[in-house]
Symmetry: C2
Subunit: 134 residues, 2 copies
Amino acid sequence: MTKRSDCPISNVLDHVGDKWSLLIIRDLMFFGKHSYSELQNSDEKMATNILSSRLEKLEKEGLIHKQKDEQDKRKKVYRLTEAGVDMLPIMLEMIMWSAKHAPETNIPNQLVSRVHTDRAGLIQELTEQIHQQP
Amino acid sequence: MTKRSDCPISNVLDHVGDKWSLLIIRDLMFFGKHSYSELQNSDEKMATNILSSRLEKLEKEGLIHKQKDEQDKRKKVYRLTEAGVDMLPIMLEMIMWSAKHAPETNIPNQLVSRVHTDRAGLIQELTEQIHQQP
DNA sequence: CATTTAACTTTTAAAATGCAAGTTAAATTA
DNA sequence: TAATTTAACTTGCATTTTAAAAGTTAAATG
């Protein structure tokens, strides 16, 4: 997506304004997924060519990076960059929106109350967890 | 967009996971735009048929509603519902992301510092402003 | 050595997007 | 009051993107 304007919101959408990119980031962020095949097995079942093109785009835009797996040379390890990890507050607010307006979704309950009582601490804690992922 | 999974993030993307929907919400929220022609004149220049189909989708999904303009019978007035207004924290975090990672965009500066010092107060204040829009 | 696994790529049909032009009702201007 | 303009769309069509299925390649496993 080429830059459409100087708006900061439009800018974020230029990176992740589609149905799939944020789900990839979600899986890397919350579910400890780091390989292509793990990413392919999400509930939403994204097509493999779309996954491939999104990974390429996200890497080119600096939200994720790809390393070789030294144990298994067939594998690639996908990880969030700092810019990718910094999508966390956006994701949290999406969860909060659904907690209010789509409570039938799978809301992680302690997370919602924690956002209200200790937002900054929660974000710091989750950020550390993301960095400590194997 | 039909429901893809029970994930709260996926759910939000089912509503606004495209390049345009959140820009419409942005214009209604921050720029006091309320008519079709105003929405059409954003910097990003969305095509009129896309604007039309997104307005229809957002209305069907309960994020905006459409009223008749009693002064000018040609006009329709578009407004955010509560669910639409509640997208505000997501938008704020997008601005914050760009403030950090795309500082060349037009960041409203006092807003960024205010998010750090008084997030809850800011959101309440902006929410009230949105409701008071003419 | 044969099979499986991981990470893709390719093909092709269907759907969405973008652009230009057209339509309709209401308001404004001459 | 007739002609023009404005607002909110809709339509048609070419281009792009997505989705689904099948195929490829290198590395690991039995």
